[in-house]
């Protein structure tokens, strides 16, 4: 892995994803001069708020050598049950109180994954496939299936919070939701955990080799438990933000998004085998997927092509660096 001229490392996923984003923007700007505007930017950032938080959570699991597909179910269950609970029991709770409740519920659901994975040593994919279905089924059966269109006042208040508002030259409005700050904050906090605490380094170490981690005395089960609880917490946060911004808690939302999130994280260079992944890459991956979703229409491409486009991007974005690494290895041999 040798940086070339300008210090750019071409074998990194980040480089490739950044290039694809730049190329995509260039094409979009050529076909629609209005593309390069504040409105587009704020649209993109807004589109990345919930997905960004979920991607950060997903990244942590992938680094630790596991995989989690249940986080969207945790997000959905959390947002729906929090909204319902606050509406019936405590409508006076402010928005930050609602957040705290959601994070606690999310953490508790994550702890169930944690106990099954860290405590019983079950495979992560199987456990989270199971809990994905169980969490969601439980909600639809026992909590409810109807949309909650009147959210508790705290959540409604947060739904109206904007950190940025303005008018374009053509008179159209643009705004950026304050929830964007929450996404930024989760990135910063997760970065600090991963790169500035021994706990974070232990997550990397376990992803690199569980056996080695055990041998040097890392509490593997404890670290894994933390990872799934933390992921649950972030998922709960993503859920309540999603409902607040949509101004409705729809129990059928979010689930189904998990593969796009995992795709974004993998595009950003995280390895499914564990031990590798960066937040920069993850954010670039999210940006690319949101860009493709929001902007294919601008390019005059039918929205149904989204799936094809995202799939092709994954194949290129993860295939090219893998192929380059293989070639480099063959040269070295």
């Amino acid at each position: 892995m040798r940086p070339g001229r300008l210090g750019i490392d071409w074998t990194r996923n980040e480089t490739l994803v950044a290039l694809i984003i730049a190329g995509f923007c260039a094409v979009a700007a050529l076909s629609d001069p209005g593309f390069l505007s504040m409105a587009t930017l704020t649209d993109l950032l807004r589109g990345g708020i919930v997905m960004g938080i979920l991607a950060v959570a997903c990244l942590l699991v992938l680094i630790s050598g596991g995989i989690d597909v249940s986080f969207t179910a945790i997000a959905a269950v959390t947002m729906y049950s929090t909204a319902m609970m606050l509406n019936t029991l405590a409508p006076w709770v402010p928005w930050w109180g609602a957040f705290a409740v959601a994070m606690a519920i999310g953490a508790a659901l994550g702890a169930i994954n944690g106990i099954l994975i860290a405590g019983f040593g079950l495979p992560t994919l199987i456990v989270t496939l199971g809990t994905l279905s169980v969490f969601r089924g439980f909600m639809l059966t026992f909590i409810g299936q109807k949309q909650i269109t009147t959210l508790p006042p705290g959540m409604r208040e947060f739904g109206r919070m904007m950190m940025l508002r303005g008018t374009n030259a053509d008179g159209s409005f643009y705004s950026l939701h304050a929830a964007f700050l929450v996404t930024v904050l989760s990135v910063v906090v997760t970065w600090a955990i991963l790169h500035r605490t021994m706990l974070g380094r232990m997550i990397f170490a376990i992803g690199g080799s569980v056996e080695s981690a055990r041998r040097i005395g890392i509490n593997v089960a404890g670290v894994q438990f933390f990872v799934y609880v933390y992921v649950g917490m972030l998922a709960g946060l993503a859920g309540i933000i999603h409902a607040s911004m949509a101004r409705v808690a729809n129990p059928f939302d979010l689930v189904g998004l998990e593969l796009s999130v995992i795709a974004a994280v993998v595009l950003g260079g995280a390895r499914l085998a564990g031990g590798y992944g960066t937040l920069t890459g993850t954010m670039l991956g999210v940006a690319l997927i949101v860009l493709v979703r929001n902007s294919l229409v601008v390019l005059g491409i039918p929205a149904t092509w989204q799936f094809v486009a995202v799939g092709v991007l994954i194949l290129i974005g993860t295939g090219v660096p893998a192929w380059q690494a293989k070639r480099a290895a063959a040269r070295a041999a």
Partner: protein, 494 residues
């Protein structure tokens, strides 16, 4: 005189009624290097685990620095400075050299915050102590095996190691890397760090050791200054028998020619190779690394496609460059690296044998499983594969037994010619003698065997004739009975 760093006395351990260690005791002084020799299953691993605090002995006393210890735990052993470097090094491939070196020390000191400068400084200082220079920021997965070992040594030192236990330290190293390792061990000893080498091939580290302890079947059978041991005496103590082997019985005078190779050429690899092999004959092919011996072996079995030449078995030409055709013609090939080329490691022992016989047990598209596995079991028995359960994965076997499984697979196909590439690489001394016994038996039954090896005593013990390869050509033919090891070594190198 200061107390010994480690003193063990009467250490005994049994697993489910089987004695793994019986009344073993010895001492290791500060700055001393000790060889712990023994075959697989002699109790070496159990002893390592006990010292590392992973297993508790049933009886016996262990003292660190003259202070008798209660029950050990991994934490206590580590705190006393006993560090084990496992054969796989137990490193983190995804993390940097610096982080790998500093990780255990940081854990032991209970750090919660990760500070890169602290980690880099510790790694740098430790590598300086070892006297090597490695890129601190490189990911460990990009390093060579020898460098990974250095990282593992540095990690132990960074954690204040007083005794470094090295499990099979030389198996994966080249000769030059072994010499570099010995230099580092001398440096550590001068620094007051003791080293315990645990291995079944220790001749190469003898020169840096003060003391040798030999285990056999869980008991200490020899102990003494390293100067009193050499490779032969070590082997004798480890196996409990003289493994000096006799040259094989001569081939019957009227034995027919089984295989002929003529003008076999692959540009840049081997050229104009010609020889013939008679029924019941064992033919050795030797040469230094890069002489083309491995490519030739592969070419005989179709794994490498030669450009010219012919190979015939029983007078019938064998299509070149086609392993399936070679197998149909009655050629069997046992590769050098059984782990990656010869075995399905996760599959059961019986299935590994049976895989070669799927065709023969096919009944109109379905498989006669009973017959298939029955035959596999029969061959495993004939080759004395020691396995409690033939349904266990083949990776659970020792190197010698794995080699027998590969042999069993081929023998089940009743081949005419067997090409064995490095038949005893990575197996212990006792199994090696057994494998040589199997080769002799097979040739006595009329099979033609080609042994490709750079293990000269092995060639002398098994082969009727030895072909010497140099730069892709066969330069000499030596009759097996007449040569000595020194003679053969000289002819290879000159």
């Amino acid at each position: 005189m200061p107390a010994d760093l480690i003193a063990m006395e009467g250490v005994t351990k049994t697993y489910a009624g089987i004695t793994a260690l019986a009344d073993v005791g010895f001492t290791i002084g500060a700055g001393e290097a000790v060889c712990l020799a023994g075959e697989n299953g002699s109790g070496k691993s159990t002893l390592i685990k006990i010292l590392a605090g992973v297993e508790r002995p049933d009886r016996g006393r262990i003292a660190f620095g003259g202070v008798e210890q209660g029950p050990l735990s991994p934490r206590l052993s580590a705190a006393a400075g006993v560090m084990v470097i496992f054969q796989d090094f137990s490193l983190f491939p995804n993390l940097s050299v610096a982080e790998n070196i500093a990780f255990s020390a940081g854990l032991a000191e209970g750090h919660r915050v990760y500070r890169r400068d602290r980690v880099q400084a510790l790694a740098k200082a430790t590598l300086a102590r070892v006297g090597v220079d490695l890129p601190l920021d490189a990911a460990v997965e990009t390093l060579s095996v020898a460098h990974k070992q250095l990282v593992a040594i540095a990690r132990a030192l960074a954690h204040d190691a007083r005794l470094i236990i090295m499990d099979e330290p030389t198996t994966a190293l080249t000769e030059r890397e072994v010499r570099a390792l010995l230099g580092i061990i001398r440096r550590l000893k001068a620094d007051g760090v003791a080293v315990l080498f645990v291995s079944h091939k220790l001749a190469e580290v003898l020169e840096v050791c003060e003391k040798v302890v030999v285990l056999r079947n869980g008991a200490k059978v020899a102990e003494g200054p390293a100067s009193e041991f050499d490779a032969a005496s070590l082997t004798r103590h480890m196996t409990g028998r003289d493994v000096a082997e006799k040259a094989p019985d001569p081939v019957a005078a009227n034995a027919p020619v089984l295989m002929t190779v003529a003008g076999l050429t692959k540009a840049g690899t081997f050229e104009d190779v010609r020889f013939s092999l008679r029924a019941g004959e064992v033919l050795g092919i030797s040469g230094l690394l890069g002489s083309g011996r491995t490519s030739l072996a592969k070419a005989l079995f179709g794994l490498v496609a030669p450009e010219q030449g012919t190979v015939t078995v029983d007078g019938m030409p064998v299509p070149l460059g086609d392993p399936l055709a070679a197998a149909r013609a009655g050629i069997g090939y046992v590769p050098e690296d059984r782990l990656t080329e010869g075995l399905f490691l996760m599959q059961s022992i019986a299935r590994n044998v049976a895989i070669g016989r799927l065709d023969a047990h096919s009944r109109g598209g379905t498989l006669d499983f009973g017959g298939l596995l029955g035959e596999a079991r029969d061959w495993l028995g004939r080759l004395r594969v020691k396995a409690a359960d033939v349904d266990a994965p083949v990776r659970s076997l020792s190197g010698g037994n794995q080699q027998r499984v590969v042999l069993a697979r081929w023998l089940a196909r009743s081949p005419r010619v067997l090409v064995l590439n490095g038949p005893s690489v990575g197996v212990d001394v006792g199994s090696k003698a057994d494998i040589h016994g199997i080769i002799r038996e097979l040739s006595a039954q009329g099979l033609g065997v080609i042994v490709i090896s750079d293990d000269l005593p092995e060639l002398l013990a098994t082969c009727h004739r030895i072909l010497v390869m140099k730069a892709g050509r066969i330069t000499e033919e030596i009759a097996g009975g007449t040569a000595t090891e020194a003679d053969l070594a000289h002819r290879l190198a000159s």
